[in-house]
């Protein structure tokens, strides 16, 4: 047992894959801890439990993990014979549109996470479910912009729907490549509130981990669906919610997640229905970047 613990501890901080153990049951640790600790808010108790307490050994989980990961590996290897990224070469080279996420069935909701300001002590609520016609997703809840009484938070009131990042077999990172497209296409139905679209891309340095590219998503409201096309050139860079001075066009080769945030300070119920999220190539759009850059402080 001690050797299990030792090996698990050794592998705990990385992508851990433990093929066998003394009990001859394969254990795959799916937990991915980040290198840097999370920010602990004021009043939140410190997590002092040792890391081995957080590992749950389970035979069923191991079997499930082996099935899942080897299945993914098999798909990956066999997909190479078909073409790049498992699609025929003609399709890969000539595609003009791609549906990245759609919501046809309950399984599609597993790729999404909702979060609200309850994480920082607020009182907003957000729920994610399929709408009545089982083919679109419905994000609904209540927004409450009362800041928590912890003495340091000044603003509160947000709700977010965020996609999970894609992982290939054995929990390796997998990125979405949108370089051949220039426009984001969404089919939504809202209630008149403005949302914000956040696209997070892979970054190199750890201080860039909060970098996101944002743009606004305005909804009309009403019973009709709304097709929204947003060129990627309009997205601007922000970090920790602040627009940065040095702007650059979004790098589309390694996109990790897309998120929708509502924080319009109007307390009350909200809802947003999403049919699909796709990207397309708008050949009439030739702009590279929508924001001109000034020299800062004549020279920095």
């Amino acid at each position: 047992m001690a050797s299990i613990l030792a090996r698990t501890l050794k592998n705990y901080n990385g992508k851990c894959f433990l093929a066998h153990s003394l009990l001859s049951c394969p254990v795959i640790c799916g937990s991915r801890t980040s290198f840097y600790g999370e920010y602990r808010r004021a009043g939140q108790p410190r997590d002092n439990s040792p890391p081995w307490k957080k590992i749950r050994f389970s035979f069923a989980k191991g079997v499930e993990g082996v099935q899942k990961h080897f299945g993914l590996l098999k798909e990956e290897i066999l997909g190479r014979w078909v073409g790049p990224q498992g699609r025929p070469l003609k399709e890969h080279m000539l595609e003009q549109t791609r549906v990245q996420w759609d919501f046809r069935g309950p399984d599609s909701l597993k790729q999404w996470i909702v979060s609200s300001d309850q994480e920082i002590g607020g009182r907003s609520e957000v729920y994610l479910e399929l709408s009545k016609n089982i083919s679109t997703c419905l994000v609904h809840g209540t927004l409450c912009s009362t800041p928590p009484r912890d003495g340091e938070t000044r603003y509160s009131g947000y709700c977010t729907l965020c996609s999970r990042r894609l992982l290939s077999s054995f929990d390796r990172k997998k990125h979405i490549d949108w370089t051949s497209f220039n426009t984001l296409h969404l089919r939504i139905r809202g209630d008149g509130r403005p949302w914000m679209i956040n696209i997070a891309t892979e970054t190199y340095f750890s201080h860039q981990k909060n970098d996101m590219y944002n743009y606004f998503l305005y909804t009309r409201g009403g019973p009709y669906w709304q097709d929204v096309k947003i060129p990627f050139s309009k997205f601007f860079l922000s970090s920790r919610g602040r627009i940065q001075d040095n702007q650059h066009p979004i790098w589309l080769d390694k996109v990790n997640t897309i998120a929708f945030t509502l924080a319009d300070k109007a307390d009350g119920p909200f809802q947003l229905e999403i049919d699909f999220i796709g990207v397309c190539n708008d050949r009439a759009h030739t702009e590279d970047f929508a924001y001109e850059l000034y020299k800062r402080n004549p020279e920095v």
Partner: protein, 426 residues
Amino acid sequence: MNCARRLARITIRGFAPYATVTARESAKCLNPYGSGVQTLRAFHAGFGHLKDQSVSRGDGHPRHEGSLVTHDSLFEQAAVEARTKAMFNRVLEVFVRKDIRRRGHVEFIYAALRKMPEFGVERDITVYNKLLDVFPKEVFVPRNFIQRMFNHYPRQQECAVQLLEQMENYGILPNVETKVLLVQIFGEKSHPMRKYQRLMYWFPKFKHTNPYPVPQDLPQDPLDLARLSLTRVAADPDACVTVYQMPSTDVSETIVADVSLPYVVGIQSPEQRSLLAKHNASRPVFVEGPFPLWLRKTCVYYYVLRADPVPPEEKVQEPVDPERSFFYPLELDLDLERDLGDDDSFDVDEVEEGPIFAMCMASRGDQATLAKWIAGLQQTNPVLGRAPTLFRLESVSREIQRAGESEPGAEPGLEEEPPHRQAMKQ
């Protein structure tokens, strides 16, 4: 408390020619520590004798200097009288005149920022400029490279940045006066100046990004508000708004309680009317709602007349009338080979939803009110007289739907799930 007393005195000065009695009363309520006689003496002495007052002040009043008294009390005492822009400005004037060194101005500005929504001046650029004017000029401007390199007077700079941030949150664009003030106070390259530059860069860029703009001040009349929101929801310039019932309040003699008629405003486009004309009369139409619509910070509710999606066996492909356009053919039956690179459609299943025939807004969401809408629609759409109408109104607790929850004609639970309330109307 010193400035509170001075505020009272200025109040007296302002009001003295008009009504001395009210001025005396307001002075009393503004100044809990001083006696009425003393404030009246200040009134007689006028504004030039303020220094003598501050010397003679020591007679037994509890003084709060050095203690943790915020400047909220100044605003609270002003709020007793009136919460207006004039009163807010007067408080600022009192503070500015109190001390030539402007001691405690950072705390005062933070307190003023908190109190701004209370006084209704949070969207007023002149008030923000006046608040910036409280900062002493040219004291915080760095004079040599070391001061410029390090954060010179950081608390004051943070305070000014927060003031600008509050402007940003309320969507107020700074003007040239703000810039001049910031240059005078903090210098050319300070943090507040940088914040100002960022605001001036990004605000005009995002000013007109909303393709469905909402006016800043919504109409007060509920009919106008309903008209605005229905045209927004309908998304069709051909759609026409019809007022089916004007709001009115009748006090009848026979009944004790007054009878108020709710307004009913509907919208229908010609396309929706032709859709409704093609509707199979044996299938029911539904009145659904209420659905929320947000216009900035106000939420209105609308109702929708719709039907179930047409089953595939009933769908008929109507041939396009070739004489509808004489200039170009509406249909081309060419067998053109399309390459994969020419395909701009999305590979996704269509969402099957029923057609929408009309929309309405009503001040009361009960079935009797909405039946009036249907009755009004029948005059232009005779199909509604034949097709059964089902009311699927969600029983959410809302103040708009306060009365008439139990209708005599309501038969709950026809074929629908329990949260829906519905009834048959023929």
